[in-house]
Symmetry: C2
């Protein structure tokens, strides 16, 4: 059986483009560009909690990096370096090879250096630390929303949650819709270009990992404001067309794993936001307004408050 | 039961001293000092592989950070930031509180900001990414040993390996020696001051996590050289006095987890090395010489080559 070192060397040796020293030493060495701040995020994915045993390793490699790049996108940072720590139950070479393909393919797409990591034996666990650069003062923070700001959402939400449902039970739906939702769940594409385009323009931003309402609530909490969302403005994926209205609402408002961006910007910046989003080739929709208050209210088309499912996912509840 | 967020907020909110934004956002923001390179390391500790179920959580918190700071020390970098990702099987508050005490106490000692992290449910797994600063060109690299260099070791090795043995079986030894060796195993103290003192003076360095010979072999491999170690010069801990000669040799040469530094420096730098080590209040011993070749040879007092146990620990073998 090949050793851990052999496996990792064989499958995880991409060329690094902006790393002074990667792998083969106690630390990696990087030289950030002069005057930049670094945005740093860590996400740990545990088997059984974030993915099922038997999950496609190539998709998992993609997603493990994608969720971290999504955090960088939400700060408006340019992804530069990633560090990967893996616990594996066995030295399954085909698994490692497929995982590496998924991971490195996404890294290459965003010019991210895999600069270091660690491998050990244990229940499967994937931990990535990703580092991006951002000009001082331009990072998008959850706490930066202002009273009266527009609230925007990139793309649409709910597809990933529905994708998960289709793995769990048989659904009556068009095959292409099921495939699309599963793809969203398995291979989310971080909104890196949009995040970069919005830095310095948008006020607050967050990526939608726990659900639209739950994540917008984090902006409210950190900014000391409330949010009103117009349900009629929230984009509805055609892939959810066969869901019941209740299910659709739940997936769109409370489903997680979509990795879209929710952000706020001043009303005066509407044209600029539209132009930047267009440059980034990313659809964005204005879905509501930041108001005085402390929570997220979703209004239906008659202006009545909609009841929401318990929002957000807390691993220990 | 408190939630993951509550537990982490309650026990992991130290003051951060050099972090622009820590926690509560998608990323942490840090501003490295102008002109510095960053040394970055990631270590993952899995229950059952690196520590036993039931391990003292406060010691584990210490060790989880210590092994990363040791990597920074081996590069001659100044520790600055740490990121902690945790998978926990349950929300055991007393465990989290004790773990946090151990972790934050060591972080405080070395002025390290806990700048971010992640928590999830899963088999216990602790992953730290630590970041240090180093002046360009001054990092100590495994590949930088030169022909004829002296080889030095800080402190002494073997105590941690013997400490592990005393947990596994009853030994005939003085109680204080057992306690000392267990303490070395459970609460290693990274050689940060020595690493900083050696930056720009020493050539190659590595920390002894896998065993003296195995780690020195990494320097040989990366530097394209061999090493000759004089067994009679290798420091012998008095705490191993009651071990058999075979066991003692094995613990000292092949035992892991000591987190001492092995480093090389030119013969001309002997006085400077001694002065820097004294400033860092760290004992160092000259134990051998870098030679032409590609492996580590240990000579006994008669000049004969000693036979070594299989060196180094590979989790998948």
């Amino acid at each position: 059986m090949p050793s851990e070192f052999t496996l990792i060397r064989r499958h995880f040796t991409p060329g690094t483009r902006h790393t002074a020293l990667a792998g083969g030493d106690d630390c990696a060495l990087i030289a950030p560009r002069a005057g930049r701040e670094l945005a740093i995020t860590t996400d740990m994915l545990a088997e059984g909690t974030h993915f099922l045993p038997g999950a496609d390793p190539e998709a998992l490699g993609h997603k493990t990096l994608a969720v971290n790049l999504s955090d960088l996108a939400a700060m408006g940072a340019e992804p530069r370096w990633a560090f990967l720590a893996l616990a594996l139950p066995d030295a399954d070479e085909s698994w490692v090879a497929a995982f590496a393909r998924g991971f490195l393919s996404l890294a290459g797409r965003f010019d991210v250096d895999l600069a270091g990591g660690d491998t050990t034996r244990g229940p499967r666990n994937l931990c990535v630390t990703a580092i991006g650069e951002v000009a001082p003062g331009r990072a998008l923070r959850r706490s930066a929303a202002r009273l009266g700001d527009d609230i925007y959402l990139s793309g649409c939400t709910g597809e990933a949650a529905y994708g998960l449902v289709t793995y769990r039970r048989r659904v009556e739906a068009v095959e292409a819709d099921v495939a699309r939702c599963r793809y969203r769940l398995d291979r989310p594409m971080p909104r890196v270009a949009l995040g970069l385009a919005l830095a310095g323009i948008a006020h607050a931003a967050i990526d939608v990992s726990d659900g639209l309402v739950a994540d917008l609530a984090h902006i409210c909490e950190e900014s000391g404001l409330g949010a009103i969302v117009q349900w009629s403005r929230v984009p509805q994926s055609s892939a959810l067309a066969t869901c019941s209205p209740e299910d659709r609402r739940r997936f769109v408002l409370s489903g997680g794993d979509d990795y879209e961006l929710v952000f706020t910007a001043s009303v005066a910046a509407r044209r600029e936001v539209a132009a930047r989003a267009a440059e980034a080739e990313t659809p964005v929709t204005r879905i509501g307004t930041m108001v005085a208050g402390e929570c997220v209210t979703v209004l239906d088309s008659s202006g009545s408050e909609m009841t929401l499912e318990q929002a957000g996912y807390d691993h220990f509840r």
